[in-house]
């Protein structure tokens, strides 16, 4: 599983890191860890704009976002 740890970074860095992961692994599910609501919202927007579904899970130190490509 491809995992992006964007905890400790403020926007727009989590979006930049997630973009790199999506570009580097087209068609693969990606897990993104963020520690702010702003990053959660922005990464969700990015993923949806690129046709991924987003599942958000609240974890101890922030949020765990599961991005899954459409149809998988």
């Amino acid at each position: 599983m491809i995992e992006v740890d964007a905890r400790g970074f403020s926007c727009p860095i989590p979006v930049v890191k997630t973009t790199q992961a999506l570009d580097g692994h087209p068609g693969k599910p990606v897990i993104v860890l963020v520690d702010s609501e702003v990053a959660r919202e922005n990464v969700s927007r990015l993923a949806r704009s690129r046709g991924y579904s987003v599942k958000v899970e609240q974890v101890l130190d922030g949020y765990r976002l599961q991005l899954a490509p459409a149809g998988k």
Partner: protein
């Protein structure tokens, strides 16, 4: 300032208790001074442009009240040990050039050593006490004009992410550095009911200030709002500054979005603006005249974006 006692002064026309853009103090029966201060960390990479933008932004509060800025003082926080002084010189040159354009005299300033670079100015303006334009005073039936496009916060975030191209950077830089001077003079010529400038709270945040403590509401048509090319795409891609989310959370109870308004609309309408345009409320007839004059004087993107309504009071409705 909450919790601090501010002594009453009868000559203080606009002070802390209102949500206005600057303080106004009556000196004589026909002269008041407008005072404001604003400074921030760089919003663009080019130091000269940063200086111009910071000066245009600081002057903005005086223009929003219909006043004439007269003098200014520089405020500088500079990491002198780690940064070349030539950078500071360029920033100050940018600020000076903007003040020159605005016919404002620089009278001094103050600098401190700070690991994080910041620049801005305190500005003093003058106005006749009877001619002050407040952010309250709009009446139902008024048209609402916005003089500059929205999206500077989003584009600035895209610049930080390395996603904005040179054209977008150039466009947003020129808009942020553009003075609201002419727009302010025109609104005084035509006559308006209320005005504020759109800055850190975003369009909807400042619109909320216009209806707060007034028995009016505002209806804004999101499709009529001028927006920077590219900012809708950036919002969809999640390049939205944290300030936009904070602005939205702060005013959630006052703003209602009609069904079918796309997700990017609140992102852009709450996007914090640097040196944004004037948000002006005036009668529909005068709004038409003012808009024509604005279009004629380089404010080509100025538009009527909504109207003041009697109901629901204290609310902003965003519609198609």
């Amino acid at each position: 300032m909450r919790g601090l006692e501010i002594p009453h002064d009868p000559n203080l026309i606009v002070g802390f208790d209102s949500l206005d853009d600057a303080g106004v103090y009556r000196l004589t029966d026909d002269l008041a001074i407008i005072q404001t201060v604003d400074f921030f960390t760089p919003v663009v990479d080019n130091p000269y442009d940063f200086g111009r933008i910071a000066a245009a932004n600081a002057l903005g509060d005086v223009y929003a009240m219909g006043g004439k800025p007269v003098t200014a003082m520089n405020l500088v926080c500079f990491p002198s040990r780690s940064m070349d002084l030539a950078i500071l010189r360029d920033i100050l040159r940018g600020g000076m050039d903007k003040l020159h354009e605005a016919e404002v005299t620089l009278v001094g300033g103050h600098s401190v050593d700070d690991p994080e670079l910041k620049y801005g100015l305190s500005v003093t303006g003058v106005i006749h006490p009877c001619k002050i334009v407040l952010n309250s005073g709009a009446v139902p039936g008024d048209s609402l004009i916005l003089t500059k496009p929205l999206g500077t916060g989003i584009i600035n975030t895209a610049i930080k992410a390395g996603m904005a191209d040179e054209k977008a950077i150039g466009m947003v830089t020129e808009q942020m550095a553009a003075l609201n001077r002419r727009a302010s003079q025109l609104m005084q010529e035509v006559g308006v009911h209320a005005c504020t400038d759109v800055t850190g709270f975003g369009l909807l945040g400042h619109a909320c200030e216009m209806v707060q403590n007034n028995s009016i509401g505002i209806e804004i048509s999101y499709s009529a709002v001028p927006i920077f090319a590219g900012s809708i795409e950036f919002a969809r891609m999640g390049v939205v500054p944290g300030g936009a989310f904070r602005n939205k959370a702060f005013r959630a109870a006052m703003v209602e979005f009609a069904a079918g308004v796309p997700q990017w609309a609140p992102d852009i309408l709450f996007d914090p603006q640097t040196s944004g345009g004037l948000l002006i409320s005036t009668s529909p007839e005068k709004a038409k005249v003012l808009l024509e004059k604005l279009h004629y004087t380089d404010h080509r993107e100025a538009a009527i974006i909504g109207e003041i309504v009697a109901e629901p009071k204290g609310k902003i409705s965003v519609v198609e």
